[in-house]
């Protein structure tokens, strides 16, 4: 509870602290919020029940994994923002809204934490909707026509999507009628077999569409590239690395209910379908993509597809591992994209080249991220992708795995082409001079994480992921 | 020991004689008396006694190549069963035989390219491509012989004595004869007598050789031709299991016959156009494949 309220409180404080003169304090508050959140998560690790004084707020095994991830990523992004936004401000000359921005970030964190840690389906809905609301202004940061369009699309489509999810939740509630269970996860899963199957099925479809919209599953994904490409890079990173996970967690909660009701096969089929379709769409739009931030956005769709697919074929460990892998890698990439945007002032792939010579650290980090996200070992995403394949073939999903490999192949081809086009080439003159350190350290941390975990997955981490994966199985 | 010496005598001393035979046959056809039968020996000795002129463009490759060519041809000769058994035959020596000759060819080509003349480059180019076709055919022929005799050594192959019972042999004889003509730049494919035509293959490659170097090359090509004549002869009429000196004697007779044949053909045939040569070579290859299929079919292997 504390970790939810704290960012909320800090957010309100920053909201109050308007004006240019308070910007240092605001920055400090942002970092404080991130670090305190970290501390909270760590405490939770040692004292699992420390914060849970409400029956509806409880961090379970899956939630804990997501929480750690979110917290870590938020910290990275918070640090990165310190370097990014002052530079960005020079460029856009947009002075107002700093306070709204920082407070929205903190609100966003709070909403995500709530979404992760709640066990009540209603609260889950509220939290997910709040994340939309808190992040819409973040996308609008740049206050340009394009960012406005993106924000509007994001807001409206996600709201509609989540409204559909609400309908789904009502269906689930209707399904639970007469079983005497509360609308909390525990009691729903406990009484799983008593639920009305048909209603639950329809409810799950609605929820999958609803949260799937937010999660970026094709064909409900269309807002995503627009929003990701227009949002400031740290926000894109946050959306991609953390928010999508939250939405996914929302789906997972209901997946658990379905599982307990014996509808596993049904839900799996849907997951596989949406997973593959997302991969397909991503493959198509990643190819010959001209805008590198959209490229990354489509790659998020791809990876959400992989995650859905992995759950669909029952590769829970791989799925959870991929959640971690994707978040870290995507954060790395979006932040690197932020650096590139500042250095080159363009989002067009064709105008960016010679990154490795222009800004070696960004170039190397971007290359690492690009390779990792495209699925090359020894990075973490490869491991999870391989495990998905392994599990899929072992469980006999031959056609799905064939398509999976095909789409991954196409994506690798296109992705690597674009990334290395950008990385290689002749040196360009810098516009901004060297970038501040805070714009490299978080990236390096993320890169180190995916390399380290790719080469050697420590027992503790593996256990964490494994228990999360097992918790998914009722 | 006797056979070793005999082998060397036959192999090292006889070849230019057969060249003389060919020339004599050609002269007779042309109504001339022609040069003496031993004229090739005189030519070689004369050249060996002269001094050399080297091109400024040439490197040491050009100087050492003739010796190396001679070396590889002599070594190939050791594998040929001239006296019934070869000197150093072993199972699988047919491959070595072909490759030693290929080595000689490579060295000829390289020494031709060394002087940087466009004529010799042209000759080298032609030699390379035609040589590769004939090598192909030779291998196809060896496969056929191998299947017929279940052996991979020249000695064993030609110990077999029922050649005429094999219909494939006639095809093989024809193709090996073609190869003989092609490899040694004889008439329908190349003309050993002209030196300044753009249509030459072998002779044009040695334009810049002079003195002893040229002499050695001429000698080496005589050896090579002898080897091919022997091979062709043996394909049609193998040694079989004849005792003592008979194989060697018969062989010389057969080779004599073949050189007369060559002389006749050279006299009556016109040179084929350069462009047609690959076709001829491929035709002979197809002929070999034919032989191969027949021999396989006869044995019920396909």
């Amino acid at each position: 509870m504390g970790i939810i309220l704290l960012p909320l409180f800090l957010g309100i404080v920053t909201f109050i602290l308007k004006g240019h003169e308070h910007r240092i304090i605001r920055r400090k508050l942002l970092i404080t919020g991130a670090l305190l959140h970290n501390a909270g998560v760590v405490t939770l690790f040692f004292v699992p029940d420390f914060f849970s004084f409400s029956p509806y707020i409880q961090v379970d095994k899956i939630g804990f994994l997501f929480l750690i991830l979110t917290s870590f990523i938020f910290t990275l992004i918070a640090f990165y923002s310190l370097g990014y936004f002052p530079l960005k401000r020079l460029e856009t000359a947009a002075e107002s809204g700093g306070h709204i921005f920082v407070s929205c970030m903190l609100f966003f964190l709070a909403a995500m934490t709530l979404a992760i840690s709640t066990t009540h389906v209603g609260i889950l809905w509220i939290a997910v909707e709040s994340t939309t609301l808190a992040s819409a202004p973040l996308i609008y940061y740049r206050q340009s026509k394009r960012s406005l369009e993106a924000a509007w699309k994001y807001l409206l489509i996600c709201s509609v999507g989540i409204a559909i999810a609400l309908l789904g939740i009502f269906f689930v509630a209707a399904a639970s009628k007469g079983t005497g269970s509360e609308l909390s996860l525990q009691s729903l899963t406990k009484n799983g077999m008593l639920l009305n199957k048909q209603l639950l099925r329809m409810g799950f479809i609605l929820i999958l569409i609803g949260f799937g919209t937010k999660m970026g599953l094709a064909p409900m994904h269309n807002w995503l590239p627009d929003a990701h490409s227009e949002a400031p890079s740290p926000i894109s990173a946050l959306l991609s690395g953390a928010l999508l996970n939250c939405a996914f967690l929302g789906v997972l909660r209901f997946y658990q209910i379905c599982e307990s009701a014996g509808l596993e096969a049904f839900a799996n089929k849907l997951f596989i379908f949406f997973g593959l379709f997302s991969l397909f769409m991503a493959a198509i739009f990643i190819t010959a993509q001209k805008d590198y931030k959209r490229l990354l956005a489509y790659s998020s769709i791809e990876h959400m597809g992989i995650i859905a697919l992995s759950i669909g074929i029952g590769a829970n460990f791989a799925g959870m591992l991929h959640v971690v892998a994707h978040s870290l890698t995507k954060v790395l990439l979006f932040l690197a994209a932020g650096n590139i945007l500042i250095l080159y002032r363009t989002k067009y792939v064709s105008e960016v080249n010679g990154l490795l010579r222009t800004s070696p650290s960004t170039g190397i980090l971007f290359a690492i991220g690009g390779l990792a996200i495209a699925g090359a070992p020894p990075f973490l995403p490869f491991i999870s992708e391989f495990l998905v394949l392994k599990h899929g073939l072992l469980t006999g999903h031959y056609y799905a795995m064939f398509l999976y490999l095909l789409f991954l192949g196409v994506i690798f081809v296109s992705m690597s082409k674009t990334v290395f086009r950008m990385v290689y080439g002749k040196k360009r003159d810098l516009i901004w001079g060297e970038l501040p350190k805070t714009m490299f350290v978080p990236l390096a941390a993320a890169a180190a994480a995916i390399v380290m975990l790719g080469i050697y997955l420590p027992e503790k981490v593996a256990l964490l992921i494994e228990t999360a994966g097992q918790a998914l199985k009722i | 020991m006797f056979f070793i010496i005999l082998h060397f005598i036959i192999f090292l001393a006889m070849p230019p004689f057969f060249i003389g035979v060919i020339n004599r046959v050609k002269s007779l056809f042309a109504g001339r008396r022609g040069p003496p039968l031993l004229q090739p020996y005189f030519d070689i000795i004369k050249l060996l006694r002269k001094g050399s002129v080297y091109s400024k463009s040439a490197s040491f490759i050009f100087k050492i190549a003739p010796m190396l060519i001679l070396t590889s041809i002599i070594c190939a000769g050791l594998l040929m069963p001239l006296t019934g058994d070869s000197l150093a035959g072993f199972s699988g020596d047919i491959i070595l035989f072909v490759y030693l000759l290929a080595l000689a060819r490579v060295l000829t080509i390289l020494q031709a390219m060394d002087v940087g003349s466009s004529f010799e480059g042209m000759g080298a180019s032609r030699e390379a491509i035609f040589g590769s076709f004939s090598e192909l055919t030779v291998f196809a022929g060896f496969v056929t012989l191998g299947i017929i005799t279940r052996s991979t050594s020249l000695t064993d192959i030609f110990h077999w004595g029922h050649a005429l019972k094999e219909p494939a042999t006639l095809f093989l004889f024809a193709t090996f004869f073609f190869i003989l003509l092609a490899e040694n730049s004889r008439m329908p494919l190349d003309d050993p007598n002209t030196h300044l035509e753009l249509t030459m293959i072998h002779e044009v490659m040695i334009l810049d050789n002079s003195g002893p170097g040229l002499g050695i090359i001429l000698y080496a090509s005589a050896l090579k031709m002898f080897l091919f004549m022997a091979l062709t002869a043996l394909v049609l009429l193998p040694n079989g299991d004849l005792p003592g000196l008979m194989p060697a004697g018969f062989l010389l007779l057969k080779v004599l016959g073949i050189s007369i044949m060559i002389g006749v053909i050279e006299s009556i045939a016109a040179r084929i156009r350069m462009i047609k040569i690959p076709q001829v070579l491929i035709a002979s290859f197809v002929l070999t494949v034919f032989a191969l299929l027949i021999s396989l079919f006869e044995r019920g292997m396909i």
């Binding site: 489509i157 020894p378 | 060996l48």
Partner: protein
Amino acid sequence: MLLVLFSIAILLLSSLFSLLFAGEKRQTACVGTAIASIVGLSGSILSSGSQEFFFKAAVPDLVISIGIDPLSSFFLIIIFSISFLTAIYGFGYIKEQKKLLNTLPFFPLLVASMAAVTISRDGFSFIIFWEIMSLTSYFLVVSEHENREVQNAGWIYLIATHLATAFLMAFFVLLAKESGFLLFKDFAVGASTITPSLAGLLFIFAIIGFGTKAGLFPVHLWLPHAHPAAPSYISALMSGVMIKTGIYGIMRALMFLGRPFAWWGIVLILIGVLSAVIGVLYALLQHDLKRLLAYCSVENIGVIAIGMGLGLIGVAAGNTTVSALGFGGALFHVLNHSIFKSLLFLGAGNIAHGAHTLLIDELGGLLKKLPLTGITFLIAALAICGLPPFNGFISEWLIYVGLFQGTFSQSGYPILVLTVAVIGIAFAGSLAVICFTKAFGIVFLGEPRKIDLNGCHESSKLMLAPMFALAFLCLLIGLFPKIIWAIAFSAAEAVYPALSTAQTFAVLSSLNYITLMFALVIAAALILFFLRTLFFRKKPESLGVTWDCGFEYPTAKMQYGGSSFVEPVSAFFKPALILAADGRAEDLSEKGLFGPLFKKALDFIMFIRIRRKSSIQYYLILIFITLITLFIWEAWFGI
């Protein structure tokens, strides 16, 4: 085993150190690699029998295992010996080309990953090492990435190798489905119960997956792009060693597939013949020396594939002599090719360094400026053509004899295929002669065509020493093939233990004869030289211009060039080739297969993309349609 691990550790450390340093000090990578190679080489030579170690990975159900057996140690010997020499060469090479210091830390990593691939004993770590190998070599290929060509070459390489890995992943996982685990040990046990159809499928997967790395037609596509793009010492390592890991992979894969069928061998032989003939044909129609060498690798890999196919036919028919000759010859050729191909690439490095171009038609007369490079290059060229008395002959001879023996004992399709193979190798061999007479003749002989040789000078001793070592090895192995045969045979035996009963006695005696003959060749050459010097010493020698047929001023431009040299070939094969405007052969697999395939795929993608609108209403409709569709699906059919 421990020594091998130790050497991998040294490699990793030297890579790390070199990464931390900047400038000249990065050369620690080369030094480290050289030291580690010595350690690893001794380790792999000393290792006898098979060893395996297991580690439990954190990922559930995953055990990592490493081990060594004769097959591994055979490849380890190749890897470490060549890496040792290229490291020395690289040290000298990079001294001259400081720009390459950037990617130097990847060099030990590449060697380490290659070694790791060969000692890996489970599917998971194998794939990881395999991909690390691909990635590090990719980074080395794009060392000079300012050049667009190089970028493209690198990209093609990356794609090819990665897509091939997809097949490998499927290969290993399907095997795991049979045996339950990803351990090679279990695969080998499961091999006895594998169904024929699955085994066939897996065989095809292995051929595609490993064949891409090895460079078999038509998946060789990356090879002629990547090799010219890479710095020479890397091309040498890649062409000499790295593509052999593909062969290693196929050999290893055969261990898991149980008893082979004759059609596997037939397929492999046909692919091999295609690779050999097409590879060399393309090789001789190239203008760039390194591209020529790259295509020539395709040819040699084809020869190796023929050997392996022969071995498979032999095993399928229970003819151990044939299979011993096939596999033994193939592995022998692997070793030989790694020696002369790396030598050729190093030579190309010297040429590029001396003459600043690798376009064959511009070069010429280099032998006078680079005599030592020229001699070693010539030796390698003769060896690669399979000419006596060098090592290339031995392995080709083994395969030939095996093929001949095969034709004696087989019937039906196999015999036809075997004869095709004999003719194919013979043809490829004779075209290789054209190819390398062109390469050597045009580049080193005659007069320089377009280049200025004034500034051209021989490379440093550090660069020449490894080349002489390699050239010496060519001769040495040619003269004493029995040791290598023993190692290669025991490596093949590790795959098919039944080979141990093979009657290789006849082979060995023939090898003795070959040694004798080679010695005779050399002795005869020496004797004749002695006679020549004896007789010719007093003969007058004079210099003149090349005979010019009456022209007054023969110029260098009048020489026969590389293109004109091979013109008869291209004229003859015209119907089967796609010729570029400049007479260079375009790759059929690139222009005819993969190029159009990629184009079609792109067209399809663009076709779909055009249909995307970006208005918010459209987005909403999509969501709605999805919803309705799912509901209808659910209501009518049930999901």
